[in-house]
C-alpha cells in the first residue's frame, strides 16, 4: 500500500489521499470500480425523478444538456437522453468519471450542429458554488484543495446564510445542498420560478446574495461588507447567524490575527487611512507581536468603542459599523458569482465520484450541516467494500434477483444518508408538482 501512495503522488502531486478506515482510494482503480458503482449504487431512479420534474413541462428531461467526462479527459458535451432507461444505459456503458448538468435547451442539445441559430437555454436551476479555496485568505488551518473540520465551519455558515435568504427573501422552497466531493459545496434551487429566471434575474439574485466587495490596499485585496447607515435586513440576518460562531472560527480555530501578518489583515479591512494608522499604532502599543487573536480582537473592540464617542473621528461615522463589517467580511459566503449568473454554466451532478478524492458528491441537509464531516464522506472504494462486506455477511446478493437487490444496495452503505436527504428533497418537490397540477 505505501508504495502505491508514493506512486500516485508522483503522478498527481496536488492530490491528497485522505486517511480513512477502510481501504485507501486509489485513482488508478477508479475505472475498475465505476462499473459496479453505477450498476449497484448510483441512484438512477431518484436522479431521473429529479431531472424530469414530474414531466410538468415539455422536453424538460430530454432537452437537458448533460455532459460526461470520460476516462482520459475526453469531454462529451451536448448529450441528452430520451428516457430514464436510456440515461441509465449510457451511464453504465460510458462510465463517466464526472457528469455535469447544464440547462434545458429549447430542443435536443445533441442536434447542436443542425439547429439554426444555435441552442437556446430555456430553463435551469439557480445554482451556487462555494469553493473552499476562496477562503484561503481567512483560514490558516488548510489551503487550496484541503479541507478539514475546522474550515468546514465556514461552509456551515455559508450554507445556513444562503439557505435562509433563499427561503425567506425569495420564497424558494426546493433547495438541494450537495458536497462537491473535495473542497466545496453546491446549491441547486429547483423551484419553478428559480429555474425560469433569465440572465438578468440570476445576476440580480447573485448580487443580492453577494455583498462582499474587495478593496485593494497595498497590493492586497481585503474583503469588505459595507453595511450603510441602516442595515438591510438580509445582512442583519446574516450577521445574526455568523456572529455566534465568529469567536470560535476566526479567533480560536483559525487564530487569524495571531501573527503580524494576520494583524495586517485586520488593519486592511479598515477602509479609512487615518483610522487604520491610529488603530495600528494602538495595537502595536498595547499588544506584543504574535499575541493571540482573542487579545487582538478585544483590543480592536475596545479601541473602536472608545473612539465611537469621539464625535469628530471617522470611527463615529464612516466606521460606526466597522466591527460588524469585519465580522461579516470574514464570514460571509464567498460565492463563485459567475456560476450563479450563467444560464449556460454546467455544474457537477450530485452522486458523482470526485476523481481525485474518490469521494461521492453527497447531498446534505442544511439543518444538519454542522454535523456533516467532509473528511468522512465515503469514497467509492469504501462503498464497494461495504456492499461486499454486507453481501458476504448475508450472502443474499448472489441469490436474490438482481433488480430487487440493486434498489436497496445503497442502503447497505454509508451513502445511505445522502440518498435519504435526496429522497426527502424529491418528495417535497413532487408534492409541489401535484399541487401545481391540481390548480389547473
Amino acid at each position: 500500500m505505501p508504495e502505491e501512495i508514493v506512486d500516485q503522488e508522483n503522478q498527481a502531486p496536488q492530490q491528497q489521499v485522505q486517511a480513512t478506515a477502510v481501504p485507501e482510494y486509489n485513482r488508478e482503480m477508479l475505472m475498475d470500480m465505476l462499473p459496479v458503482y453505477y450498476r449497484r449504487l448510483f441512484p438512477h431512479m431518484p436522479f431521473y425523478r429529479w431531472l424530469s420534474y414530474g414531466l410538468t413541462e415539455d422536453g424538460i428531461f430530454c432537452n437537458r444538456e448533460i455532459s460526461f467526462t470520460l476516462h482520459d479527459d475526453i469531454y462529451l458535451r451536448y448529450l441528452c437522453f430520451e428516457s430514464q432507461a436510456e440515461f441509465e444505459k449510457e451511464i453504465c456503458l460510458k462510465l463517466p468519471v464526472k457528469m455535469d448538468i447544464g440547462p434545458v435547451m429549447h430542443t435536443r442539445p445533441k442536434n447542436i450542429r443542425t439547429v439554426p441559430g444555435g441552442l437556446n437555454p430555456v430553463q435551469r436551476e439557480l445554482v451556487f458554488d462555494i469553493d473552499m479555496t476562496d477562503y484561503d485568505p481567512v483560514r490558516t488551518c488548510c489551503s487550496e484543495a484541503e479541507v478539514c473540520q475546522k474550515c468546514w465551519k465556514f461552509m456551515v455558515l455559508a450554507a445556513r446564510i444562503l439557505d435562509v435568504a433563499l427561503r425567506e427573501d425569495f420564497g424558494f422552497e426546493h433547495i438541494l445542498w450537495v458536497f462537491s466531493g473535495r473542497r466545496g459545496i453546491h446549491c441547486w434551487v429547483c423551484d419553478h420560478q428559480a429555474r425560469h429566471l433569465d440572465g438578468r434575474g440570476r445576476y440580480a439574485v447573485a448580487e443580492y446574495l453577494n455583498p462582499i466587495s474587495y478593496v485593494s490596499f497595498g497590493g492586497k485585496n481585503s474583503p469588505r461588507c459595507p453595511m450603510g447607515d441602516r442595515t438591510h435586513h438580509s445582512l442583519k440576518r446574516a450577521l445574526k447567524i455568523a456572529e455566534p460562531l465568529f469567536e470560535e472560527i476566526i479567533l480560536e480555530d483559525q487564530n487569524l490575527f495571531g501573527t503580524p501578518k494576520g494583524v495586517t489583515k485586520l488593519l486592511q479591512m479598515i477602509p479609512d487611512d487615518a483610522a487604520r494608522g491610529e488603530l495600528e499604532s494602538y495595537l502595536q502599543k498595547s499588544l506584543e507581536d504574535g499575541a493571540h487573536s482573542r487579545l487582538v480582537w478585544e483590543s480592536f473592540l475596545k479601541y473602536s468603542n472608545s473612539m465611537k464617542t469621539a464625535t469628530a473621528s471617522a470611527w463615529s461615522r464612516k466606521l460606526k459599523n466597522i466591527v460588524q463589517e469585519v465580522q461579516l467580511g470574514l464570514l460571509y459566503p464567498r460565492l463563485d458569482i459567475n456560476v450563479t449568473r450563467g444560464f449556460n454554466h454546467l455544474l457537477k451532478a450530485p452522486f458523482c465520484i470526485h476523481p481525485s478524492t474518490g469521494k461521492v458528491c453527497v447531498p446534505f441537509s442544511v439543518s444538519a450541516v454542522a454535523k456533516f464531516d467532509p473528511t468522512t464522506v465515503p469514497t467509492i472504494t469504501q462503498l464497494l467494500h461495504e456492499i461486499n462486506a454486507f453481501d458476504d455477511k448475508s450472502k443474499s446478493y448472489m441469490e436474490a434477483p438482481e433488480d430487487k437487490s440493486r434498489i436497496k444496495d445503497h442502503k447497505k452503505t454509508s451513502m445511505f444518508k445522502g440518498v435519504v436527504v435526496f429522497e426527502e428533497f424529491l418528495r417535497k418537490l413532487e408534492r409541489s408538482h401535484k399541487a401545481a397540477s391540481l390548480q389547473f
Binding site: D169, F170, G171, G201, Y208, P211, R230, H232, H233
Partner: protein, 533 residues
C-alpha cells in the same frame, strides 16, 4: 436651435402639431409601437447622429464614474447636452408635460431616433448592451423629471396595474420597510406609498439590496417606481432589438441607409479635425511635441518612426492623419516621411510606394477624399500585430511593458499606478486622460476621445494654441461641430469629405503666407516645451 419648423409651410404647422400631440402625448413613452412616419433620408441621418451624440454624453458621464442622477451627474450631463446643442432634449428631461410646440417636436425626434438607432445597434451583443444601458439612463433621467400626477398618468396610459398597500398591509411589514428601504428616512417611509411586486419586476433594486424583500415579493415605494417601469421599458427595448435584428436585412437592402447604419456606432461625433484650421506645425518641432503634447499612441508612433525609419500601413494612417489634424502641411508631411524612410530605402522607392499614400490622406489623389484623423474609438478598435506601432497602447501593450514605457517617459511609480488603475479596468480613455493630467500637472483630467483633442488641450494648456489663435484668423478652441446636417454628416460617417477640400487650400495658403509667423511660433514652442519638460 436646429428645428426646421420654419421650413415648413406655415398653415401646416397647426394641424401637424395637434396630431403630433396625440401621437406623442407624453415626454416619457415606452417606445412600444414602431413609428409609421415618413422621414426624409437626410432627417433620418440627422436624427440618428443627434441621438448618438445624446447617448454619448451619457456614456461619458458613465465612464467618468458619476452616479446616475446624482447632482454631479446631472450637472455634467446638462452642461454637455448644452454644449452639444442638444438643449431640446434637456427640456425633455427637465420640463414636465409642456405643450410647447417645439417640445412636442422633440418628443417626435426622441421617438423616431430611438427606433432608428435600434436598427444600428441590434447587430451585435456588445452594441446592444451599450445601447440598452444608455437608453435606460436616458429613460430614468426623463422619468425622474415627471411630477407625481404625470407618473400616475403614465402608469394608467401604459396599463400598469399596481396598487399601493393599504395601511394595514403596510403595517404588517413595516419593520422590514424601515430596515431595508434604501435612501429614505424612517419618517419619509411612514408617508410613502408602497407597492408589492414580484421581485423579478425590480431586479435592479434587488441587485443593490435597496428594498425590502420577503417571500419572493419586493416592497417598492413611489420614488422607486421607476424601477418597475424601467424593467418594462428595458424588456420593451430588448425585445425591440431582437425584432429589429430580423428586420435589419430588409432595411439594409437600401444602401443609403445600410452604409450609415453599419458605420454609425463607430462614427465620431465630436469636433471635426479633418482640417486643422487654427495652427500650422512645422515638422521640426515634432520631436519636442511628441514628448509634451502627444498622447501615448502618437508618441510611440513617432518614436517608432525615428528609430526604425519605417512604419507599417496602420501606423502611417494613424500617425499621418494625426499629423494632418494638428496642422502639419502636406509639403511638410511629405518631407517628414521622406527624410525618415529614405534612411532605409532610396528616394525612388519612397516616391513609388509611399508618396501616393500621403497625397491620398490629404485628399489630393485617388478618391480625393480628405480623410478624418482617427478617433480614440477607432484606434482602440485597431488590432495591432507585433511590429506594428499603431493602436491604443493602453489596450494593446501588456501591463508590465506599458509601465516600463511610462516610467521611461518620466512618470513616477505612483503616477503610473494611477493610470494603470483605469487601464486595468479597461477604461483606456480615462487612463489616457489621467496620463494627460499627470504629465501636464493639470488640475482636472480632460475627457479624451480623440488624439487630436489631446494634442489641442495640451497646447492650450501650455499656452501655445491660445497665443496663436488670438492673433490668428481662426476662432479660438473647442469649435464644436455646428449642428450636423446633410452632407457634412455623411462625411463624419463615411470619411467622405470632398466638400471641405477647399479648406486645405486655405490652410496651405495661410501656411505659406505666414512662414515667418511659424518660425516665430516654433521658437515659442521650444521655449515653452522646455519649461514644461
Amino acid at each position: 436651435m436646429e428645428f426646421h419648423l420654419k421650413k415648413r409651410p406655415r398653415h401646416d404647422v397647426k394641424v401637424e402639431v395637434v396630431s403630433l400631440e396625440s401621437k406623442y402625448p407624453h415626454n416619457v413613452m415606452l417606445y412600444h409601437y414602431p413609428p409609421t412616419d415618413d422621414v426624409h433620408i437626410e432627417e433620418f441621418e440627422e436624427l440618428a447622429l443627434e441621438r448618438l451624440r445624446l447617448l454619448r454624453v451619457l456614456d461619458r458621464a458613465f465612464t467618468k464614474n458619476l452616479r446616475l442622477l446624482s447632482d454631479e451627474w446631472k450637472e455634467y450631463v446638462n452642461a454637455e447636452l448644452t454644449r452639444e446643442g442638444l438643449r431640446s432634449y434637456l427640456r425633455l428631461c427637465s420640463a414636465g408635460g409642456s405643450k410647447h410646440e417645439s417640445d412636442i417636436q422633440t418628443r417626435r425626434r426622441d421617438y423616431l431616433s430611438h427606433f432608428i438607432l435600434r436598427l444600428a445597434y441590434c447587430r451585435s451583443e456588445d452594441l446592444t448592451r451599450w445601447f440598452v444601458a444608455r437608453e435606460m439612463e436616458l429613460f430614468r433621467y426623463k422619468f425622474a423629471a415627471l411630477s407625481s400626477s404625470e407618473v400616475k398618468q403614465f402608469l394608467e396610459s401604459n396599463g400598469f396595474e399596481i396598487h399601493p398597500l393599504t395601511e394595514a398591509q403596510k403595517d404588517e411589514v413595516k419593520d422590514g420597510l424601515y430596515e431595508s428601504t434604501a435612501g429614505q428616512s424612517v419618517s419619509k417611509i411612514e408617508l410613502l406609498d408602497f407597492y408589492k411586486v414580484p421581485f423579478t419586476d425590480v431586479l435592479d433594486l434587488v441587485r443593490g439590496r435597496r428594498c425590502y424583500l420577503k417571500a419572493g415579493f419586493a416592497y417598492v415605494n413611489t420614488l422607486d417606481l421607476v424601477s418597475i417601469v424601467g424593467t418594462r421599458q428595458q424588456e420593451e427595448i430588448e425585445q425591440g432589438l431582437q425584432a429589429a435584428k430580423g428586420l435589419v436585412e430588409e432595411v439594409e437592402g437600401d444602401e443609403r441607409i445600410s452604409r450609415m447604419l453599419k458605420a454609425l456606432h463607430n462614427s465620431y461625433t465630436g469636433k471635426d479635425y479633418t482640417v486643422c484650421r487654427d495652427a500650422a506645425i512645422p515638422i521640426e518641432s515634432l520631436d519636442q511635441l511628441s514628448k509634451t503634447s502627444m498622447p501615448l499612441c502618437m508618441r510611440m508612433c513617432h518614436e517608432h518612426i525615428r528609430a526604425q525609419h519605417h512604419v507599417k500601413h496602420g501606423g502611417r494612417m494613424q500617425y499621418g492623419l494625426f499629423l494632418k489634424g494638428i496642422g502639419v502641411t502636406l509639403e511638410d508631411s511629405l518631407r517628414f516621411w521622406r527624410e525618415e524612410f529614405t534612411k532605409k530605402m532610396d528616394a525612388d522607392k519612397f516616391a513609388r510606394s509611399y508618396e501616393y499614400n500621403i497625397y491620398h490622406n490629404y485628399g489630393k489623389k485617388g478618391s480625393m477624399v480628405n480623410y478624418t484623423p482617427y478617433s480614440c474609438a477607432k484606434i482602440i478598435k485597431e488590432m495591432a500585430a507585433p511590429g506594428d506601432c499603431h493602436g491604443c497602447p493602453y489596450k494593446s501593450m501588456d501591463p508590465s511593458s506599458l509601465k516600463t514605457k511610462m516610467a521611461s517617459y518620466g512618470l513616477s511609480a505612483s503616477a503610473i499606478d494611477e493610470v494603470m488603475f483605469f487601464v486595468s479596468r479597461g477604461h483606456y480613455q480615462i487612463g489616457c486622460g489621467k496620463y494627460f493630467q499627470l504629465t501636464h500637472s493639470a488640475s482636472v483630467e480632460p475627457t479624451i476621445n480623440h488624439p487630436n483633442h489631446y494634442f489641442e488641450e495640451s497646447q492650450i494648456l501650455m499656452g501655445n494654441r491660445q497665443k496663436r489663435t488670438t492673433n490668428g484668423p481662426a476662432p479660438p478652441k473647442a469649435r464644436v461641430r455646428p449642428d450636423i446636417k446633410g452632407c457634412a454628416d455623411r462625411s463624419m460617417l463615411m470619411g467622405d469629405d470632398d466638400d471641405e477640400l477647399w479648406r486645405i487650400a486655405e490652410t496651405q495658403e495661410r501656411a505659406m503666407q505666414s512662414q515667418k509667423a511659424i518660425s516665430e511660433a516654433f521658437d515659442d514652442d521650444l521655449d515653452l516645451t522646455e519649461i514644461e519638460y
